[in-house]
Symmetry: C2
Subunit: 438 residues, 2 copies
């Protein structure tokens, strides 16, 4: 019987499709000017050909920096150091050093010293990020030696961005880097590029104040004041990295940092501030869309993920209610395993909606649930105003066999809505996480 | 590489040990007097030899009944009916009918009619429970025919209890039934027996008011007033079924019902009330311990579970804080997959502690984490006051290879503590839940 059950699902060895198609070439003219970066192997990871150290620095005189960080009580040493550097520099840091393979979290005073050593080896005021196993010390001498060797390989082209992106990776199956150019009203063309990583321990906590995500860096050559950059980054995070979940676990090391070095403008041009309404709105909008693109890549590469699912919640009384429902559905183990099994078990979606604490209880007779196929065909209604539709199993099967799916939930309570992105829970997820340290 | 990862874990075909050793013989003299019950096949489930209908009834004139039910907004029709019967009878119902294979949840008006039809076919005022797939209608004629046939097979011996327990099962791998006799001060010997089921969608919501669990029934022949029974059941639930989690999902059908029919006393004996301090305390204590034993069986049979883990949280400022931490650790997908992989990845335990919202933030430098082996050997300290201990991997491996494990977390903030029971997240869990409806 166990064997029959196993055969009913897609076999483990074929469940994970290649993700290489998400590695897109970077247009050289979309890369922000005035940034140089590299990725190299310094020895945190055992295998000699695996990159584990990235350095990014801005070459302009004035560079604004802003960050959002984890709210986890066990925030790692590099998070403390980066926050301290942003504070003391008043948002004027121009370097970032990142290692993968060791999180430098729960490492006590020695961990703090190591994080400061990384920052100071990189620049007088560098930001720091680490990702990997918690509770182990960094081989700090190897890391510092790597940082000292980094300038020799710094570059500004797409190969340099790709190298740096590879050095961010842990259980990621592909490097996550994107670049775009965009028009900044009143300023002309600017460019934005970013790297992110993360495939597990992904569940940013949704609070209103600037806070948590995973590891990411976004660099633009637009001229932006530190305050305006911080404001735009916070707004963008709530609509991108704060709207994804892989496994419901919030990391000790989550951090997203943005740099704006103004290299797109002349050296004496004024920086964009929040009072500069049109340009600021354009920048914030661009940053939000770009951050969402990066965040979705993290879900695409969710540990063991075989599905990419958009949870679209409508008809909520408040944005917070919509987010709460989307988050509960997106993190339900039963919903996620049903998605893996391509099982149209919408009852699990409803059960998740029903256990979400809301500002006012949901009325079961007003809730509707549909699957929205990604091929543009009509929605498949599953529940309309609390009454189940006769399920067209064949059509449901066709829709669920696709990699992409949208689950639409209408609460019938109001006009607020939100989108959230999640993935399925597969055998491969268990395999990856059952032996992560090995 | 994927193959190597898979081989690093216990193979799927050997991961699930037989659970038959948790099926214990019931002592006939521990079974409560004055209850008769049965289990049979009525046709909700397809296979003719699988039981899917249970009936329990008390044969005494006065029987007290109390229930706690799910807080899920999409509470199923049988939950509404049972609550209504308890209300209108003022806690004097004496029958219960249970079907497995179909939850009769999200089934609209027809579902309500079906639940009432089940109740009325059983007795004038019967309680009702259903468990199985959400959003499908009951084959109500088959169910009613089964209820009509039930009296022919009613019995009061251990075989009857076992038959009824089998009829509760869905993805359960073994029937869950226990019985005990106990001393009731001032009253003499009484008996208590109970059945529970559940292997998935197990995560009762922790609120202070009487509420949710999974499917369970507890019957005692002690004489107890309806109010006292309700109070004792609520207390017991918070320390048993409300302290377990399999997958973090709260069901639409959760219900635990207790009957007390007084058959242990003479017909004119007074019922125990809350003012009857010593007897009430003894009853409540007995009920709590008994409910905890049943609840732990649910975790033992958690879908795909290969581990039974006690999360013991100490040093909390409040009981609510202790529960919140225990719940977060117990439901973390990363913690649960590490337990499956027998990986001493205590960093994930800490990350879960760190993301728990508490009445006051935890101080990382005061938190300690240990593994407590179940063989009685000394605890293995992993983190002491925020500093990692040098990990004895060999010893950790030996401890983690055992089926049972206790994870002890001391927050260093106060004197409150709690225990919570959880299981691991295995390949088998994904297999079971990827194809539940099939």
């Amino acid at each position: 019987m166990a064997a029959a059950r196993v055969c009913g699902l897609r076999c483990m060895s074929t469940a994970v499709k290649s993700k290489d198609r998400f590695v897109l070439p970077l247009a050289e003219d979309a890369l922000p000017r005035g940034f140089s970066l590299t990725g190299l192997h310094c020895g945190v990871k055992k295998k000699a050909d695996v990159l584990d150290l990235a350095v990014l620095s801005s070459t302009t005189q004035r560079t604004a920096a802003a960050g959002v960080f984890t709210t986890n009580a066990f925030r790692a040493a590099p998070v403390f150091v980066s926050e301290q550097v942003l504070r003391s520099s008043k948002g004027r840091a121009n370097s970032l050093v990142v290692n993968s393979g060791c999180a430098n979290a729960v490492t006590g005073e020695r961990g703090m010293n190591d994080a400061w050593a990384m920052a100071r080896a990189t620049a007088s005021e560098s930001l720091v990020m680490s990702t990997g196993v918690i509770g182990q010390h960094l081989p700090i001498e190897k890391v510092v030696a790597g940082i000292r060797a980094a300038p020799a390989s710094l570059g500004s082209d797409s190969a340099a961005w790709m190298r740096a992106a590879r050095a961010f990776m842990t259980t990621d199956t592909f490097p996550k880097v994107r670049a775009r150019s965009f028009n900044l009203p009143g300023w002309g063309t600017a460019r934005i590029a970013g790297i992110t990583k993360g495939a597990g321990m992904i569940h940013p906590e949704m609070v209103a104040t600037p806070h948590a995500t995973l590891l990411g860096v976004i660099a633009t050559d637009a001229p932006v004041s530190p305050d305006a950059l911080r404001s735009a980054l916070s707004f963008a995070t709530d609509r991108s990295f704060n709207a994804i979940s892989v496994d419901g676990d919030t990391s000790t090391n989550d951090a997203l940092i943005a740099f704006a070095n103004g290299a797109a403008a002349s050296a004496d041009a004024q920086e964009i501030t929040e009072t500069d309404t049109e340009a600021f709105a354009a920048l914030r909008n661009e940053l939000t869309g770009f951050a969402a693109e990066l965040a979705q890549l993290v879900v695409r590469d969710g540990e063991g993920a075989t599905k990419f699912v958009t949870v679209d919640v409508r008809g909520a009384r408040s944005f917070a209610d919509a987010q709460a429902v989307a988050r509960t559905v997106s993190t339900s183990a039963l919903v996620k395993t049903a998605l893996f099994g391509e099982d149209a078990n919408w009852g699990r979606v409803l059960a998740a909606v029903g256990r979400t604490p809301l500002s006012e209880p949901v009325n079961p007779n007003r809730v509707s649930v549909s699957f929205i196929p990604t091929d543009g065909s009509a929605e498949l209604k599953l529940l309309v105003n609390g009454e189940p539709e006769a399920l067209d199993e064949a059509r449901a099967k066709t829709i669920l066999e696709e990699e992409d799916l949208e689950v639409r939930i209408d609460l019938g309570m109001g006009k607020e809505s939100t989108k959230y992105w999640t993935c399925d829970f597969s055998h491969e997820y268990v395999t990856i996480n059952g032996s992560y340290r090995s």
